[in-house]
Amino acid sequence: MRRWGFRHRRKNYLQTPQIGNGVLSLNDAVLGKKYRIVRINGGCRLNSHLCAMGFIPYEVFSVSDVSRGGSLCVVVKGTKFAIGRGMAEKILIREIEG
């Protein structure tokens, strides 16, 4: 694949928050609980797209439906989205107490 500009250099210095210590991937979200988005781990293209749909850090959301093995439904900024497992893997979240 062709590498655009300088994207490939970024990985060296980018420290991504690790899963664990309260941070989970969206795939592990449980129905009905409230979460906060910690980070989006996509490429810049995907990040921009997800941000445009309202998936930005600090955003609070809830999971409204989980289909086993398939996709899940989340409500972000008043709109319901269906998200595939592969995409959900890239979104890191943290549960909000209370």
């Binding site: 655009w4 500009g5 300088f6 994207r7 250099r9 970024r10 210095y13 980018l14 420290q15 980070r39 989006i40 810049c44 293209r45 995907l46 990040n47 921009s48 797209h49 997800l50 941000c51 445009a52 749909m53 309202g54 930005i56 850090p57 600090y58 409204s64 439906d65 289909s67 086993r68 093995g69 398939g70 996709s71 439904c73 409500v75 900024k77 008043g78 709109t79 319901k80 989205f81 269906a82 998200i83 595939g84 592969g86 995409m87 890239k90």
Partner: protein
């Protein structure tokens, strides 16, 4: 003389943009494609006061990043075509999300009008906004509309004209925070120092895009600045590194946060009352429709209803059209003397064009149903429900709908594939759709299964359908692993709130599609049907019949006149001889010669030249195979029920060849009309690929079945 101005409509998906467009332009719409891409371009013209307003409906997008073709198309239209005014349609019950696109339009510094659509729903939710203040903050007039009732149409046009005529527009600049702003200033100075030519668009905007690593903008600037780009690239990389190390996040995320920050700031100031009622996002209905257990059965039921609606209800108008064309053909045959011209008119043109027009009711009903499913919000749920299953074979949840339609007719199925946004998903779905055995193939199966397997005809036909489905699954996997490599789009899809669709919107949608079909397919098909007619007619046989049939006929007529045979016997015998003549004429024609020529290739799968000719005629339409077989076996008026034809086939071929013929008919590309539509939807290259690979596949599968089968039987 009216002054000509142009307005572009932009907005999020599900913001009611299409309804507003329909309200503004009515039926004076033109549907085409943006050059080079399969994104639909809708335009309309309004005469309002002293203006002639050209309205362009941009594709519905969440943003103007370079994520999807739609977004790039929308952005490039604004940058390159420079519409006089951009009207952004906003769902006012969900301002925070919808205004994100508006902010991006502000960044582009276009003359902007904000339309707060669905104002009635927003008011019900208990929110009150200081429109004037918000309009001030965004530097753009805000018009409230209710798309459903058509409220606010005139105001939209007034606001647009007002913006256009305003001498000084207030410029709103979005601030992205200190770090980013510093980098913007730094890059600007780099540009000046390196003497990189001015960007085609606003410099600040371009720098922001570079920091966001927008492929499109990077490419354009690379081309424009040549070798100097390397220096710029380094500087941008430094900036990104700097921002990321300080803010612990990549610039594109920081910039997005700043945009949302601008929006929430503006909303916070202009909300008079904070919302008291929480909007229920169709929760209760979804609990049933996307239920883990009920979801799929409900979807199956809706698909079944749609299938019935499209094909059972469609049968009646199809019959009328069929009869109409038959009557027209008979009329011309009566009025004109028998000969080549009348044959061209009746068999070639009326037969060919009639064969296209006859699908119109199906197309109409299909797009009517798709519009209802889409506008009501169910389509997204269906994709959600089916996604898990379809994902396993490398397709999108929505692929299921065109595939189901394919069992009725492949032509609307190809057109229905448009509901898939991703190009690879769409192409794979189209390429395997031919294996969903369409209705026109059924007469062929009935004839052959009846001829060779009279005791188990039903099971044999069923087995063909199953093989088709299996073949579709296998080919989907194969295509996904080879030509259309790469994952389908990571799946994020909005599940819009359920709404009752408006009749006007649905009718306009249906009409557009139907007209497009009739117009495009009709012209091409006309030419091709004439070509097919020539192939099957020329060279004329003249006096080159193998025996003197004329003499035989006059002999029979004499024996009738002398009372040896009855009227009924006379008709039968004459018909038999005329049938034999037609068979010989066909054998003598170019198509017959091609059949003879190709026989060695088809011999390997057990076909003789007659089956080969029938297969060629099936290119025009699969059901034609039956009548061609009839002609070749000298039986007039052949249809699937014809017992004489069945006996003739049973005598001439072993059952294995009969089964193989059905397989071949199943697997090779559906028909000419379908291919014309395929070409329009996917381009010539893909159409040729479809023709090539289905023919090859059909031959290979039949070859294996015939050669292996022969060892056992």
């Amino acid at each position: 003389m009216r002054r000509e101005i142009s307005i572009a409509l932009s907005g999020n998906p599900n913001s009611g943009k299409t309804t507003i467009f329909n309200n503004l332009t009515g039926l004076r719409q033109h549907v085409g494609n943006y050059p080079g891409v399969t994104v639909e371009k809708k335009t309309g013209v309004i005469n309002y006061k002293e203006y002639k307003i050209n309205v362009v409906d941009l594709p519905g997008t969440y943003s103007l990043t370079a994520y999807s073709t739609e977004q790039i198309v929308a952005r490039n239209f604004i940058i390159d075509q420079k519409p006089d005014v951009v009207v952004d349609i906003v769902d006012s019950s969900n301002l925070e999300r919808n205004l994100y696109l508006a902010v991006q339009l502000l960044e582009l510094k276009v003359p902007l009008v904000l339309v707060f659509n669905m104002a009635d729903i927003a008011r019900k939710s208990g929110r009150k906004i200081d429109i004037e203040l918000l309009s001030e903050l965004f530097g753009a007039p805000i018009v409230e509309t209710v798309g459903r009732s058509g409220m606010g149409n005139k105001e939209v046009l007034e606001a647009a004209i007002d913006v256009l005529n305003r001498k000084k527009r207030k410029k709103v600049e979005i601030k992205y925070g200190e770090e980013i702003e510093n980098e913007i200033v730094r890059i600007k100075s780099v540009l000046r120092r390196e003497k990189i030519p001015e960007f085609k668009f606003d410099t600040r905007w371009a720098i922001v895009k570079l920091l966001e690593q927008d492929n499109e903008v990077i490419d354009t600037i690379k081309k424009a600045s040549g070798l100097k780009y390397q220096k710029l690239e380094e500087e941008i990389a430094n900036s990104i590194k700097h921002i990321t190390s300080i803010l612990r996040n990549t610039p594109e995320v920081i910039i997005a946060e700043a945009r949302y920050g601008f929006i929430s700031g503006a909303l916070l100031e202009s909300y008079k009352e904070v919302d008291t009622v929480k909007l229920d996002v169709s929760g209760k209905v979804d609990r049933i429709l996307t239920n883990r257990i009920l979801g799929i059965p409900i979807f199956a039921l809706i698909m079944w209803l749609m299938f019935q609606f499209v094909f059972t209800l469609g049968k009646y108008p199809m019959n009328w059209i069929d009869i109409g064309f038959e009557k027209l053909g008979a009329l011309i045959a009566n009025v004109m003397p028998e000969g080549l011209i009348s044959s061209l008119l009746v068999d070639g043109i009326i037969g060919g064009v009639g064969g296209v027009i006859i699908f119109t009711p199906n197309i109409m009903l299909l797009f009517f149903s798709i519009a209802v499913l889409e506008d009501s919000g169910y389509m997204a749920r269906a994709a959600f429900v089916m996604d898990r299953i379809m994902h396993k074979i490398g397709l999108h949840g929505k692929s299921f709908i065109p595939l189901i339609i394919g069992f009725g007719c492949t032509v609307p199925a190809y057109m229905g594939s448009r509901i898939l946004e991703n190009k690879k998903d769409r192409l794979v779905t189209m390429h395997i759709n031919t294996f969903m055995s369409c209705g026109a193939r059924l007469p062929v199966y009935i004839l052959f299964a009846g001829a060779f397997f009279p005791a188990a005809a039903g099971n044999v036909i069923f087995s063909i359908y199953i093989i088709g489905v299996l073949m579709a699954i296998i080919m989907a996997k194969v295509l996904r692993a080879t030509r259309f490599k790469g994952m389908s789009d990571p799946f994020v899809m909005e599940l819009p709130p359920y709404r009752i669709p408006t009749l006007k919107g649905i009718l306009i949608h249906t009409w557009e599609r139907t007209w497009m079909y009739v117009k495009k397919a009709g012209t091409v098909i006309l030419a091709i049907s004439v070509l097919m007619w020539i192939l099957f007619t020329f060279p004329l046989i003249g006096d080159n019949y193998s025996t003197d049939y004329e003499a035989q006929i006059s002999e029979i007529e004499q024996s009738y006149q002398s009372g040896i045979i009855t009227q009924v016997e006379l008709d039968e015998k004459v018909a038999a001889i005329e049938g034999r003549m037609a068979g010989e004429r066909l054998g003598y024609s170019a198509a017959g010669r091609i059949g003879h020529f190709l026989e060695p290739v088809f011999k390997l799968i057990g076909f003789d030249w007659k089956m080969t000719v029938a297969t060629i005629s099936g290119i025009a339409a699969k059901e034609v195979i039956v009548s061609t077989m009839g002609t070749l076996y000298s039986i007039e008026e052949a249809d699937g029920q014809s017992d004489t034809l069945k006996t003739a086939l049973g005598k001439n071929y072993p059952p294995l060849v009969g089964y193989n013929f059905m397989l071949f008919t199943l697997l090779y590309f559906p028909c000419l009309t379908a291919m014309v539509i395929f070409r329009r939807e996917a381009g010539t290259k893909e159409m040729l690929f479809q023709v090539g690979y289905t023919l090859l596949l059909a031959w290979v599968v039949s070859f294996l079945v015939y050669q292996i089968g022969r060892l056992f039987i």
